[in-house]
Symmetry: C2
Subunit: 426 residues, 2 copies
C-alpha cells in the first residue's frame, strides 16, 4: 500500500506532460485536416443525411458525394504525441542519478518492460497507419497485431520467462495452486493483442464511439490502478507502471474524442483502434491484470460474439454493417441484410431461431417475384441498441453505447475488487 | 579479440534470419506495387525520356505523364521486415535460459541498448512513412529525426549517463586525457541523427543511388566490425551489437536496391532514407564508433557542403536539382539554374568566383533582351560528377557515384585502422 499522503514526483511529471500533450493535440488536429485530405486520407461520414442544398444545384453529383468529407486516420496524431510524452517521461520515471552509486538497485526489469511496451505500441501505430494508407487485405491485417506484439512476447520471454498462473481457489484441489502454461501463455498474450485491437475495430462506425469506448476503458484502468495503489497490498510497481502509461493515453484521447464527437470533424482511423488495442494489451499484460482488462472489454466481447455468425459467414454479411440514416427524419435505423431464404444454411437457421424469439434479432420474411426472402438486422450491438431504443439520433446512439460501456466497467470493478477475493488470495 | 575459430550461435541465427528476410523481400516488393500506386503512393521517374510511342498516339497527354509511374516509399517494406528480423533475433542474442540461475550476469545494459535502438528505428520508420504519405512541410521534417532520436537519448542518459570523450593525443597537453561534454554530448547525438537522415535524403534522385550508398556504408560498417572483432583488442560486445544490427540491414537493402536499380521498378522513398540514417546513427552511437561512421559519410558531407550555398539561399535554388535528361540522346546532363545577375548577392558572387576557377562550378553569362543573366549548375555532387564525366547514362552515373562512395569507405577504413592509433591509444 502506498502512503496516500505523498504524491510521487514521477506522477506529477506524468500529469504535467500529459496535460501539455492534450493542449497540443487540441491545436494540431484541425491544423492537419487539409494535409490529410490532400494525401487522400479522408472518409465520408455515412450516417449523415447529406447536404441537400448543394445536391439540388448539382444533380449530377450523387447523394453520397455531398455527405461530409472528413480527414481519416487522425488518431495517428494522438499516437505520435503519446509516444513523445512517454519518451520524455523516461528520465522522470527512472531517475538515473538516484542509482548512480547503487547500480544493482536500478529497476532493470521495469525499464525493459517499459521499453518493450513502447516498442509494441510504436510498431502497432506504424502498422495501423500503413493499413489506413494502403488499405491492406484481411489476411495482412490479422498479421499486424501479431507482428507488433513480437517485442512484447520476446521481452516477456527474456525478462520473466515464468508462465505460471495462479489457479482460482475452487479449482485448486484439481489443479494445484498454480499451473505452468508454458508456450500456451505466449499464445494467450499474442491472442490478447489480436483480440484487443480487433474488438475495438469492429465496434466502430458511429461518431464518437471508437474514441469514446477506449476513453471509458482507459478511465476504468486508471481508477483500478489508483484504487489498488491506495487500498491494495501488492504489486505497487506494476500498478504504477500501468498508471504512468494510461494517464498519457487518456490525455491524447480526449482531444481526439472532442473532434470525433457527433457531428464529427475528424475520423480516428484503424490506426487509432489498433494503437488503443495494443496499448490496453501491453499495459494489462505487463501490469499483471490482463484478466481484469477482459472484464472492461465485456461490451466488445458481446459485440464480437453477437457478430460472429456474420463474421464467420454462418449468415451472409455485407461489406458495411453501419446503421442506415433515414433521409426524412435524420434518425439512424437498423441496417438490414436481405437474402434468399434458400441461401441460409442449417446453422444459420439455428442462429435465427434462437435469437429471434429472445428479441435479439429482428427478422422479417418477404415474398418477392415468387422467391422467399429473409431480412434481418446486421448483427452488431450498435444495431441491437437501435432495436431496443427505436430510431435515434447519432449523438444519442453514441451516448447509449458509451453508457453501456460505463455500466459494464462499474460492474467489472465491483467483480474485480469485491468478488475476486473469494477466488484468489489477495 | 574473439577466437577466430569459433562462430557464435547468435551470429549464425542472425545470418539465417537475415537471408530469409532477403528472400521474402524479393518476393513481396513487386507484390505490393499496385497497392502502393492505388494508395496514391507513386512517383514519376523524371530521368527517363518517356514513352514516345504512346505520346504520339495521344497528343493531349503531356510528356511527363508518359514517363514511368513507379510505386513510391517501398522502402517501408524493407524497414518493416527489418524490424521483424531484429525482434525475432532477441531470444538468440539474449538467451534467457543461460542466465536463469545467475540473474546478475544478464547483460541488462546491452539489452536496454538493443531495445532503445529498435525503438528509435521503429519511430523513424513510422515518421518517415508519415512524411511520404502526408508530404510534411520542411519545418515538420526537421523535427522528425529529433523526435525519433528521443528514445536513444533518454536511454543513453539512463544507461550510461557518462558523456566523457577521449581527447586525441596531440591535444592532451591542452585539454587532458578526457573531456566531459555533458549536455553537449546529447546535442551531438541528436545532431548525428538529424545529419545522417538528411545527408542521405539530399544525395538522392538517381535510380539506385539511395539504396546503393546506404548499402556501401553498411558493408563498410560490417567490415569494420568484423575486422575489430578479429584483430582488435577492445569492445567486443559493442562491435557484436553493431554487427547484429547491420547484417539484417544489408539483407533488407539488397532486394530494395535490386528493384530500385536503373531502370527502377520501385522508389525507396524518404521513409527509407530516414530509416537508414537513423539506423546508422544508433548503430554507431551505441556501438561507440560515431566518429568512424562520419568517415563513411564523407561523400554525403561533401555533397552537403557543396549544396550549402543553394540550401541556405546564398544562391537561388530550384525545387528539384536532379540532372536533366536529354530527350534526343537519353543521356543525363547537368541541370542548371538561370537567374538575373543583379539578383545574386555579394556572398553569392564570392561562391561563384571561388568555385568556378577551381572547375567545381560550371558558369555561363547570358545576355537576353538587354538583361544580364547568369546560369550555373545546381550544386550537388551528382551534377558535379556529370561535369567531370560529361553526359552519361543514368545507370553509369549511379555506378560512378557509388564507386566514389566505395573509394571513400576504403580510405576511411585505412585512416581508422592505421592512422587513428597515432592519435588514440588502441
Amino acid at each position: 500500500m502506498m502512503d496516500t499522503g505523498s504524491i510521487p514526483t514521477p506522477f506529477v511529471a506524468n500529469v504535467i506532460l500529459s496535460s501539455i500533450s492534450s493542449l497540443i493535440l487540441f491545436y494540431i488536429i484541425p491544423e492537419f485536416k487539409d494535409m490529410f485530405i490532400n494525401a487522400g486520407l479522408f472518409g465520408i461520414d455515412m450516417n449523415k443525411v447529406g447536404n441537400r442544398h448543394s445536391n439540388r444545384e448539382n444533380k449530377s453529383i450523387s447523394q453520397d458525394l455531398v455527405k461530409p468529407k472528413l480527414p481519416e486516420a487522425q488518431g495517428v496524431l494522438s499516437g505520435a504525441v503519446y509516444l513523445i510524452v512517454v519518451f520524455v517521461f523516461i528520465p522522470f520515471r527512472f531517475p538515473f542519478l538516484d542509482h548512480l552509486n547503487s547500480e544493482h538497485n536500478f529497476p532493470h526489469h521495469e525499464f525493459v518492460d517499459y521499453l518493450a511496451a513502447l516498442l509494441s505500441m510504436c510498431c502497432m501505430l506504424f502498422l495501423g497507419f500503413a493499413d489506413d494508407v494502403l488499405n491492406l487485405k484481411w489476411r495482412h491485417k490479422l498479421w499486424l497485431p501479431t507482428m507488433a506484439s513480437l517485442p512484447l512476447l520476446m521481452v516477456y520471454y527474456i525478462n520473466f520467462g515464468h508462465t505460471l498462473i495462479i489457479v482460482p481457489k475452487p479449482f485448486r484441489e484439481l489443479l494445484g495452486t498454480s499451473v505452468d502454461l508454458g508456450i500456451l501463455y505466449y499464445l494467450y498474450m499474442g491472442m490478447m493483442a489480436v483480440f484487443c485491437t480487433n474488438a475495438i475495430n469492429i465496434l466502430a462506425g458511429v461518431n464518437g464511439l471508437e474514441a469514446g469506448q477506449t476513453l471509458v476503458i482507459a478511465c476504468s484502468v486508471m481508477f483500478f490502478n489508483v484504487y489498488q495503489l491506495m487500498y491494495g497490498n501488492t504489486q505497487t510497481e506494476a500498478h504504477l507502471f500501468s498508471l504512468y502509461l494510461i494517464i498519457p493515453y487518456i490525455a491524447v484521447t480526449v482531444p481526439l474524442l472532442y473532434y470525433n464527437w457527433c457531428p464529427a470533424r475528424a475520423f480516428v482511423g484503424d490506426t487509432f483502434c489498433y494503437f488503443s488495442g495494443m496499448a490496453f494489451a501491453v499495459i494489462s499484460i505487463l501490469g499483471h491484470f490482463s484478466k481484469t482488462m477482459l472484464l472492461f472489454f465485456v461490451p466488445q466481447i458481446i459485440n464480437f460474439l453477437y457478430s460472429a455468425p456474420q463474421i464467420f459467414h454462418i449468415l451472409p454479411c455485407p461489406r458495411h454493417r453501419l446503421p442506415s440514416v433515414n433521409r426524412e427524419t435524420g434518425l439512424l435505423e437498423m441496417s438490414k441484410m436481405k437474402t434468399k431464404s434458400s441461401d441460409i444454411g442449417r446453422l444459420g437457421w439455428v442462429v435465427i431461431n434462437v435469437l429471434s424469439p429472445l428479441g435479439l434479432l429482428s427478422v422479417e420474411e418477404l415474398q418477392e417475384k415468387g422467391d422467399k426472402y429473409i431480412q434481418f438486422n446486421n448483427m452488431t450491438i450498435i444495431n441491437l441498441a437501435i432495436k431496443f431504443c427505436g430510431p435515434i439520433y447519432e449523438r444519442n446512439l453514441s451516448l447509449v453505447l458509451l453508457f453501456i460501456q460505463v455500466l459494464c466497467s462499474v460492474l467489472a470493478l465491483v467483480i474485480r475488487l469485491h468478488v475476486a477475493k473469494y477466488f484468489y488470495d489477495e
